[in-house]
Amino acid sequence: MAIMNTNADASARANAAATAGDGPASRPSTTSVIGMRARSWSATAVISLVAVVLSVPLLVIGWSIIDPSTEVWQDLWATRLPGMIGETALLLVLVLAGTLVLGTALAWLVTAYQFPGRRILGWLLVTPLAIPGYVLGFVWLDTLQEPLGARGVRSIWMCAVVLTITLYPYVYLFARAAFREQSQRAIDVARSLGCSRRAAFWRVVLPMARPSLAAGVALVGMEVLTDIGTVRLFNVSTIADGVLRVWFGTGNRDAAAELALLLIGVTIVLIAAERLARGRARFTQSGSRAGLHVERLRGVRAAAASAIGWSAFTIAVALPLFRLITWSVEAQRTNQTATVSGDFGFHLASSLQVTAVATLACLGFGLLLVAGLNRRRAGASWLGRLATLGYTVPGPVVAIGVLITLASVDRLGWLPEGWLLVGSFVGLIYALVVRFLAVAYHGVEASIAKVSPSVVASARTLGAGRLRVATRIELPLAGAGIIAASVLVAIDTVKELPITLILRPFGIETLPVWVWQATSESLWVQAAVPSLAIVSVGMLLVAVLLWTLERGAETVS
């Protein structure tokens, strides 16, 4: 079967989920029911409208290119821009290489070898997903300040290390899914032709996993390019940081928007590179489900394997968690466990409310778009890409785009007297959908594409109507992948700060906003309690994700 069916756009991420469950995959199936239709004009119009509505905030930003701020660009080019591009490139290369090596190695370790703790590590190594980069950043900054010195710790190298240990799970998830799907037969053939086990890994296993690894790495790249919080902590001037520098330093919205377009350009290059790396390869394997032979390690080698896995977990999760817990205890002791807006429960409720609704909204719109956009039409494919573009721009840029859009609508006065979209709950959710729809859209798309065309055809032949096929066959079969995609949206949303900060309504103060209130005053102890809460919610979500993936792997085949 095909290892990967990444529609390598903005978020191939959810495909980690989709591929982990397996099942015959093909190009987006032309015979599936969901993902093809909307033949009637009215349906097409409605769905196109939805796609357009979701892309307006970024079009508003893109509009600036019509009238380029030449002077600002000349200034920028003479001063910061070369440095920004250089630092962005270096950081990107470091983190991509780091996550590729770490993610692949750990995935191979827990897939191909048996050693004490293997099963539990297989799960635990995904958990860094639950820790926001800005939290991990301030924990490590404070922890390493003494041994490395304030100067040593604030470097692009440390920034790369922190981003690597936060982001490697994306590669790890993809790599593990790819390794699991590989058949021992290929390795056996390689070995019978004289390859050592090691050579077989380098020459057979790894090349066959290449598309999955590329997809994971592309996601990491997008996270790095749009990161603001972590790079600022470590004094790294990336392009994303530059966008805000220009915007908020000079109030020049157009120049900032143009810089954001440069960022989108870099992302497009990244996606193209991912496609190139994947090539036209559609690796298929024989139907045999005989997975890799797991080699049982003994003695020193088993101990070493355990040690590697546990050290990775300790550095990425256990140590930061320990710091957060110690600080939280201190916060408890000194009574810093509430904010001006409310107690712990209030902030938790805010976060859960926003996360739940935003996740469902992303899922709903993702399903609608996948169902409605006929990808065989070039225009529709453009719409899909446009509607999911928000994932390739930094959060604050999305927020300002949404702000301008909603404020314009408010000014039209179409809503009943006294109703405004800016500062409303609906407005916030809309912004979060614009930012994170890509994750849901691509997850849903990939999962549905994996439903075997022959199953759908059989059902149709047996007289099942389109709706019936969609609800009774496609959705259930794609279920695990869809749930996994939703969980990924939820994990992103619960960590989200810049959009919520700018657009939240009165009465909504999420946990990340609390973290911001404390960290913007360098009150690390106060920031510990909400950080710990974010991580806990994230951990729960990661557990659901893993459970879904395992279950998907069992049932869909």
Partner: protein, 351 residues
Amino acid sequence: MKNKHLPFLGTLILGTLVLSACATGAGTGEDSTAPSADGDAVSNASMVTVYTGRHYGIEPVFAQFTADTGIEVRFTTGNDPELRERLIAEGANTPADVIMTADAANIELSAAAGVLASVDSDILTETIPAELRSDNNDWFSLSQRARVIIASTDRVENPPTTYAAVGNPEWQGKLCLRPSTHPYTQSLVASLIMAEGEERATEIVQSWVANDPLYIDSDTDIYKAIAAGECDIALANTYYLGRLLTEDPDFPVEIVWPEQDNRGAHVNVSTAAVTANAPNPEGALALIEWLATDGQRQFVDANFEYPADPNLAPSDMVAGFGEFTADLEAVRQLGDNQPAAVRVLSVTRYE
């Protein structure tokens, strides 16, 4: 097909329903949709809505205002530039009556965008000196914050006494600065440009950069870096020392007042303004007047700052930092000079 998938499907559909219900509910709910000017007259009259970029210790002050006047305060916090963008985007529809910032340039940019209202208040013009409010009274300072030279009490005998001297080669590798992304850095450089001209200011900033400073994006951490021996001198705001001394009275960092034979130490201000489209301008003015008078003590002392009212002495701890001359003349032009400051910071490759 497999029946066990039915619950999933059910959940999905139910979820979508709940979603739409939520969305609708949120759209109509009072909490989430801010009422406009003539929405709910009763609650408006007794409530002021504030966008505040200053959030440290602000809530008890608002609570005291409510206790004193019976007017409720509803506020949202954020970064100064983002709140400004929001205010500008909302235009006539803004729910905000008052905008408060933690620096002067940001309120000037709001004023330039035409989203602030001039107010005619004898209380404010009598309490707040002319240097600390805009020409047409569309914003008012509520407190002063001095950005000064700070030095280690253990290792530094002759600290620099001018901003230019911070660039002396003797401080090579011993200087801590806040990155240029922060408004405090930008407004300090804006004040240099005003006093010395752009060319000279560029040279000064260049000399700082030549000292290979350690950039730390937190004044608190800059103070701590001096205490830890990471650097010997730095530029920072004084009130952070107030916070640190509360925890540790022997904190080994001292304040050096710069430019005392000259224009005085650079001061920035935290400000407040009535918005041009305030649904409740009377309430807005009442809040600002209260913060400048009855609430001034609490507002200023909560963050160890200097009062905007010259007749009010700073708190005992703050008075302990010593008396100083402040560069008040520059305050109103910090905003105009901010773009030039950003340019200087770029040209000199200040991080």
